[in-house]
């Protein structure tokens, strides 16, 4: 059974019909990617799943439990957490404080310490800089912090919105390696990316979004081989 299921999702921005019946599913332990051009509805899909936008129609379930009616903070409590586009770390707070914010929904102290240690093993850079003000980190470090912050809530499903945006190529590679690592430790990942090449490289399956609709879906290998996808997203 799928862990996260989205069924016939319709979302409007005022009069604009942004998502026209999206259906997708993410199985436990998978990395699934949503690729597509600017404005195709990738971020909208993620925001709707995490409860920041309300669907007009459609169902979102996590292990069969309905998420569509829940406010965003309850969705986090259920185990779906989003790393927002553009990182959006708390720039005035230290790295450590940012990570603690991620553990906001959790009450037990010991677990937080353990997770902090785990995030620091994943991102040794952050450990070095734990008492530094987050706004002064480099772009790559900020992205690590944003991911680390999300992991602090112990999500079942991690939603990543354009993690490679604005990063140098060498850092992009590093971030994608980290995502694979996180996935191997047992976190399911739904990844939204414009960098389709890298996304399909680490994902098992993918969906191609076009103007609010799923145009194509399949295994990462199939999509990589697909002529249309190659032409539109992989540069030939």
């Amino acid at each position: 059974m799928a862990l996260l299921e989205v069924d016939n999702l319709h979302v409007y921005y005022g009069q604009i019909h942004a998502l026209k019946g999206i259906t997708l599913h993410v199985d436990p332990g998978e990395i699934v990617t949503l690729i597509g051009a600017n404005g195709a509805g990738k971020s909208t899909t993620l925001k709707t799943i995490s409860g920041l936008l309300r669907p007009q129609q459609g169902r979102i379930t996590l292990s069969g439990e309905d998420l569509a009616a829940l406010p965003a903070h309850d969705v986090v409590a259920k185990g779906v957490v989003q790393v927002p586009e553009g990182r959006r770390i708390f720039g005035q707070l230290t790295v450590h404080e940012n990570l603690l914010m991620g553990a906001y929904i959790r009450a037990e102290r010991n677990g937080v310490e353990t997770d902090l240690a785990r995030v620091f093993t994943l991102f040794p850079r952050l450990k070095e800089r734990r008492s530094q003000v987050a706004g002064t980190l480099s772009g790559g470090e900020q992205q690590m912090l944003a991911i680390g912050r999300a992991l602090m809530s112990q999500p079942k499903v991690l939603l990543l919105d354009e993690p490679s945006m604005g990063l140098a190529p060498v850092l992009v590679e590093q971030i994608f390696e980290t995502i694979t690592g996180i996935n191997r430790l047992g976190t399911t990942v739904l990844l939204v990316e414009q960098n389709a090449y890298m996304a399909l490289h680490i994902a098992q399956r993918g969906y191609v979004l076009q103007t609010g609709e799923i145009a194509l879906s399949g295994s990462a290998a199939e999509l990589q081989a697909n002529a249309e996808v190659r032409k539109a997203y992989l540069g030939g």
């Binding site: 920041l52 959006r88 720039g91 707070l93 906001y104 008492s131 999300a150 809530s153």
Partner: protein, 569 residues
């Protein structure tokens, strides 16, 4: 002299500096401040407050020129300072000449003959060269201040400053020195009019000496204290604390009625400041209608304790304080509900409306049978505890002190709690806060509620302080004042609230004899503060980081950081 120009400092800067300070002096003269304080002596028979203000122009321009010409020879800096001071004097003289030739009064009501008399030392036009000379001297003295080595300059400034402050507040200080030994001290230092010349000299010497002593022995004393055995160090700390507490507790009886009243007012604003700080400083929710909660607290106490006809109940004040707190808390939550989705500037306007709604409601004829309309609620009895009646400011001081301490403690605990972190997250980025699992609705409502509760406590004390509550006590100016004081103190900082309250509420009260002129100072202080110290007088670590970027927050990652932020070139 042209060498000065080529060496970096240009004479143009002398002209500009002197003209600016001179214009400042002319401005103070034309708004009437100079004439208004002509009878106020700083040092009796030697220096009046008028001349202090006027000579400040020469002195200030001297300091500024001397600072700008830091690399030049001493005589050049002295000459530059004197020239700038002289120019300031010329501007002041020009005002007198123009005023004597043409009647300026139709336009500038304060340009009067007595003013010209002051500005020309009572000698007619013949006094004007004297003014230029004196200003030049003041400029040279100002320039000379920066030539002194710091070890000499600091005691001199402290000595002059002390004498000036004591001279400025001479009547308050004299009031404190009424009986016994203190009366002897008073006749030594003061005459009827102000600080006696010998008093000024004594104070200057004492303050300067104290400063020299402190600079010399500060670090040895600290080292001595650090070397003490732990039990003795604890004892020392205990003694210091007891002494400090004793000083605070005896404050109203040492300083007298008037200052006690000022301190109570500072306390009430501190309470409100702590509440608004929680909304604006912690959670980033701008609120310009904060006075509403203050009013609700005051009216709750009024209606539930009054002996007058509007009484709803005749409870004791102690029983009503918790009720008032809860009522203002609920009011806060209730007010928060409709404005949850409003952000930024729009929020400010929406909340501005709330303050006015409450004021107009209590003022309205519609609610007059219950709230008393413009007559307010009268006959509020003073609280009694055991045998002690809190009847005057000297007793209320303790009530305010305890309330402020309690509320500050609660605010500090909240700041460091999970809720405090949630407020911080909402302030920094509301969307992300929501995405991290923070229930922003609850968190924001709690900020409004608890902030309102603090203001309610303040209102409860305010009601018994006056013994009555009137709608006109709750105007929008209070909201603005509270906001200004937390900004001046340092947004989000708890000690900053008290510092800001002392600076913006206490100081203007002490300067009451200058009537409306003190608001001139108030406004000028706000502008200067925002220019030069926008993080406030006692900022939080976060604010310091934000406004002084590139300064490492901690030693940790700071070393690399400092390298990364090296300015270009």
């Amino acid at each position: 002299m042209t060498r000065a120009g080529t060496a970096g400092g240009t004479w143009r800067s002398v002209v500009r500096t002197g003209a600016l300070w001179g214009a400042g002096a002319v401005f103070l003269a034309l708004v009437g401040l100079v004439e208004a304080v002509s009878r106020r002596q700083i040092v009796a028979g030697v220096l009046s407050l008028s001349y202090t203000f006027i000579l400040l122009a020469g002195f200030g321009s001297g300091v500024q020129v001397s600072r700008r010409w830091a690399g030049l020879a001493a005589w050049q800096r002295l000459a530059g300072g004197a020239a700038a001071g002289a120019l300031a004097g010329v501007l002041v003289g020009l005002l007198v000449v123009i005023g004597r030739l043409a009647n300026l009064r139709p336009m500038l009501i304060n340009a009067s003959l007595p003013l010209y008399e002051i500005l020309s030392f009572g000698r007619g036009l013949g006094g004007l060269p004297l003014m230029v000379l004196v200003q030049a001297a003041a400029g040279a003295i100002g320039a000379a201040m920066l030539l002194l080595p710091p070890a000499v300059r600091r005691p001199v400034i402290v000595g002059l400053g002390t004498a000036f402050v004591i001279g400025l507040f001479q009547d308050l200080v004299q009031l404190m020195l009424q009986s016994g030994v203190r009366a002897g001290l008073r006749s030594l230092l003061f005459t009827g009019e102000g600080l006696a010349p010998r008093g000024a000299v004594i104070l200057m010497v004492l303050a300067a000496g104290g400063n020299i002593f402190w600079t010399r022995y500060r670090s040895p004393v600290r080292r001595w204290a650090d070397r003490l055995a732990p039990p003795r160090r604890r004892a020392l700390r205990g003694i210091t604390l007891v002494a400090l507490a004793g000083a605070i507790l005896t404050l109203p009886w040492v300083t007298g009625l008037f200052i006690s009243q000022v301190l109570v007012l500072v306390g009430l604003y501190t309470l409100m400041g702590l509440g608004l700080n929680l909304e604006v400083g912690f959670a980033g929710l701008l609120d310009l209608g904060f006075v509403a909660f203050f009013a609700i607290g005051a009216y709750t106490v009024g209606l539930l304790t009054t002996t007058g006809p509007l009484a709803v109940a005749h409870l004791s004040w102690w029983a009503v304080v918790p009720i008032a707190t809860v009522v203002s808390l609920m009011a806060g939550v209730f007010f928060g509900l409709p404005i949850l989705r409003i952000r930024g500037d729009y929020l400010a306007i929406a909340t501005l409306g709330f303050g006015e709604i409450i004021r107009l409601l209590v003022l309205s004829d519609f609610l007059r049978p219950w709230l008393g309309g413009s007559q307010g609620v009268l006959g509020i009895p003073k609280p009694v505890l055991g045998g002690l009646e809190f009847r005057g400011p000297q007793q209320l001081f303790y009530l305010t002190l305890v309330a402020s301490a309690l509320v500050a403690f609660v605010a500090a605990r909240l700041r460091d709690s999970r809720l405090g972190r949630a407020w911080m997250a909402v302030r920094e980025d509301e969307d992300v806060a929501e995405a991290l699992g923070i229930n922003t609705v609850n968190v924001k409502l709690l900020a409004y509620g608890i902030g309102g509760a603090f203001a309610g406590i303040s209102g409860a004390i305010f009601a018994v302080m006056l013994g009555s509550v009137f709608p006109h006590s709750f105007n929008v100016l209070i909201s603005i004042n509270v906001l200004a004081l937390i900004i001046v103190g340092g947004m989000g900082s708890l000690p900053g609230v008290m510092v800001g309250s002392l600076a913006l509420i206490g100081l203007p009260e002490l300067l009451r004899e200058f009537s409306d002129f003190r608001f001139l100072v108030y406004g000028a202080v706000l502008i200067v503060m925002m220019q030069f110290r926008p993080e406030g007088l006692w900022p939080t670590a976060v604010a310091r980081r934000e406004l002084h970027e590139g300064v490492p927050a901690t030693a940790g990652g700071g070393v690399e950081l400092a390298g990364a932020h090296e300015p270009d070139g």
